[in-house]
Symmetry: C2
C-alpha cells in the first residue's frame, strides 16, 4: 500500500529525467526534508513494529538520512554498509558486491563484524529499489552474519523494474511507501 | 565547552589507532546510536537556537546521520554536499575542492544551486574537525551562494590539529561538543 503523503510529494516535487531517472533531490536525496522523512520513518515503524527489529541496515550515502530518522522510531541502532574500492577480504568485515547499473560497474560493500551479529533481526532501509542489486548485497551481508532479515523498507520502488518482484518471490517482505508503476514526462507518474 | 556525555562516551567506546586516528565507529561513524546522536543534535540546537539558522549543510557520507538528526531539532532542511570525481564545473551547482590528508588526494564537492541561496543562514554540521579542509570547502560553497555561515557544529574536534584554531582566528564560530587535546594508547584521551 502506498503512503499517500509521499505519493503526493513525489507528484509535486519529483522530476522525471532521461533513462527512467526520478529526481527527488528536493526532499530525499540531496536536500532532505527531515521532518517529512521522520514521518516516513514513523510509517515504516507502523508497518514493522511487531517484527522484533533490533537493528537497521542501509548503504551509504543516500540511505543514511532516512535510515537514521527511521531508527529513531524503532529505538535501535542503525548501521550503514560502506562502499569500498579495494577488493580485499578483511577478516573483521562482511563483504558483498553490488553491480551499479547507473555507473556500469561493480563495487564492494563492507560492514564490520562488530555491528552485525547472529540472532540480529535486521530491517533494511533504502531510498530506492529498482533492479535490487544494492538490496541483494545488503541481504548477503545479513546472511553472512547469521542474522535474520525481517524485511526491507523502501521509500520509492520502481515497480516497473524487476528487483521488487524477484525479491518478494524469493520470500522477502518488502514495504515500499511509494511504488511507481510507470512514469513519463508526458503522462506524469502513476503508482501501483 | 565540551558536552560531558559525549566525552564520557568517547572515553568508553573510542579506540585510538595509528596516525592520530580516533575510531568512534561504534556510535558515530559506522554503527550509529541515533538516540544519542539526536541528543547531540539537541545540544547543537541549544547553542545555536538564536542564530536564525534556516539550513543545515554537511558533506557525505558520515556527516549525513548527525546532520539529519540535528536538522530535526532546528525544524529546517538539511543539505549534503556530494563528492564527485569529475572536475567539471556545472552551471547548476556550486563546486569547491577538498584535500583529503587521509587519502593523500583531492576531490570536488558540489551542491545544487537549488538548495543553497543568497540570504540563507547556514549551520555546518560535521562529525570531525582536524585540519579543516572539508569545513573550508563547505564554507566556500556557502560563500559562492552569497549565503551566511552562522557557524559550525562539530562532534569531535582534534584540537591538536590546526583547523579549528585557524578557522576561529578567521572569525568563524565553531562549537565542538568534544575537543581532544591529546590522545595516546598509553595515557588515554584528554579533552580541552
Amino acid at each position: 500500500m502506498g503512503y499517500k503523503p509521499l505519493e503526493e510529494r513525489i507528484c509535486r516535487d519529483g522530476k522525471i529525467g532521461d533513462g527512467d531517472v526520478l529526481k527527488v533531490d528536493g526532499f530525499l536525496n540531496h536536500q532532505m526534508d527531515v521532518a517529512f522523512l521522520s514521518e516516513l520513518g514513523q510509517e515504516f515503524y507502523r508497518r514493522y513494529q511487531d517484527a522484533g527489529v533490533n537493528r537497521i541496515l542501509t548503504i551509504e550515502a543516500s540511505g543514511i538520512g532516512i535510515a537514521s530518522l527511521t531508527a529513531l522510531h524503532f529505538g535501535c541502532p542503525m548501521v550503514f554498509a560502506k562502499k569500498t574500492k579495494t577488493n580485499n577480504i578483511y577478516a573483521d568485515v562482511y563483504t558483498s558486491n553490488v553491480f551499479s547499473y547507473t555507473h556500469g560497474k561493480s563495487y564492494d560493500i563492507v560492514v564490520s563484524k562488530e555491528f552485525l551479529h547472529a540472532g540480529d533481526r535486521v530491517l533494511v532501509i533504502d531510498d530506492f529499489l529498482a533492479k535490487g542489486s544494492a538490496l541483494r548485497a545488503l541481504l548477503q551481508l545479513i546472511a553472512s552474519a547469521g542474522a535474520t532479515a525481517v524485511g526491507a523498507g523502501i521509500v520509492i520502488e520502481k515497480a516497473f523494474q524487476p528487483g521488487g518482484a524477484e525479491l518478494r518471490a524469493a520470500g522477502l517482505r518488502i514495504e515500499s511507501l511509494a511504488r511507481v508503476q510507470r512514469m513519463s514526462r508526458e503522462t506524469g507518474i502513476q503508482f501501483c
